[in-house]
Symmetry: none
Subunit: 251 residues, 2 copies
């Protein structure tokens, strides 16, 4: 068991509760906001809300698992012997990470064939990235962690390539008023997703147990909030602006 | 552990339960009322409801944490050894205080650029104010509390300046029928927010533990109800009146 200070324990505890509230709020915001976009964009916004709803569920589980793993009595922190279940994160990502890329493809409103082809390729690569990362996350030693981490980086690189090469051309065909916003959403995906491998690599360098665990848990939580809630709201903003422009006949 | 009387303990207990019920009721009122405003104001009302929903969640957590921290058996109050988690308030404010300012900006229906710029500036200052306040709240000694409290006052002063200087001019451009109501909403923000630093400073003066804790908990609870639920309903009233006026072509 990692050696945690009470401060670190509380920081993680409060970060989980914050994420639970923020993901829940983002879910409701997006589902309410669904009525403000035209029919073409409703699916993208529905999925944005779903991703946050799935994350809300998992942060509730993560929060409760964290609560069960430790107890603080009279100012002393001790492990209860119940293991903290880290797998919830990977279960969450397996569902949500492909959906995040599908959101981005859907809000662009490409042709039906192009939408299906891009969504399939990107979704499959995203799922593969998560599946390959998990054996590394639970590995006891750094070389095993590094091996799976590196394998997981390959589909990640493919996703970056696809977002810039494959999707780049389609982005240039988007209406001028939203082109920059879509590029921002793409950049947000890369910036927030790029944070996960950094957190994943935290145990590579020699930092002590409690600090490593705090960095991993708080780091993943912040990255999740940006990648899902903030990203979802940007997708909704794109959908609102495209709906308005199309309603006034300017598309 | 603070020395609380049973009366003080019960007063705080019932205040938390009251806030939980009132915030939940305000949430539902605002979300039902969302269908009564025109599309331009739906986002402002959605967010007003969300702020109350996030507060409902946190009052549930605060209530349960309070319940776990003490027990009353045969008329004797004793601490259980489980710490009361005061951080929930700051976690709540970090999410809701920026959103309260966003509500006010959104209901004014400024241009897209002006909305984005005002919302960003005010939201960022609000988040900074909360982040700087927290180290003071958990500080063991009064000088440390006072230091962080003073730092936290700087973004607060900036917000006041922005609400009166920056937003004042935009308020004068609002339709006559709602101008006074928007000024009231602004005043409500200042009056209720001004209450927090007063409560924050309660431990500065030499009052005993139990009284200080009761003042802080009940004081913050009343301030939260005014700043979120009452304020949210005023925002909704502005949205209803503006929707009606715009429908009859008078805008």
């Amino acid at each position: 068991m990692e050696m945690l200070s009470i401060f670190q324990y509380s920081l993680i505890y409060n970060a989980f509760s914050f994420a639970l509230a923020a993901m829940g709020a983002a879910t409701l915001f997006l589902w309410f906001g669904r009525s403000q976009v035209s029919d073409h964009y409703k699916t993208a916004v529905t999925i944005s809300g779903l991703v946050c709803a799935i994350a809300t569920y998992h942060y509730l589980r993560i929060f409760e698992s964290w609560e069960a793993a430790y107890q603080v009595k009279d100012g002393v922190l001790s492990a209860t012997g119940v293991a903290f279940n880290d797998a919830y994160r990977y279960v969450d990502w397996l569902l949500t990470v492909p959906l995040l890329l599908v959101e981005l493809v859907l809000v662009m409103r490409l042709s039906r064939e192009e939408t299906a082809s891009k969504a399939k390729k990107l979704g499959f690569a995203a799922a593969l990235m998560i599946i390959l990362g998990y054996p590394g996350e639970i590995a006891a030693d750094v070389p095993t962690r590094a091996l799976w981490g590196t394998l997981s980086a390959l589909p990640f690189l493919y996703i970056i390539w696809e977002l810039y090469r494959g999707l780049g051309e389609s982005i240039e065909r988007q209406p001028a008023n939203v082109r920059e916003l879509i590029k921002k959403a793409r950049l947000l995906t890369l910036a927030s997703w790029g944070f996960y491998p950094i957190v994943f690599m935290a145990p590579y360098i020699n930092i002590s147990g409690g600090t490593a665990q705090t960095t991993i848990q708080v780091g993943y939580t912040i990255a999740d909030l940006v990648a899902k809630a903030v990203f979802g709201i940007v997708i909704w903003m794109i959908a609102v602006q495209k709906s308005e422009a199309e309603k006034s006949g300017n598309h």
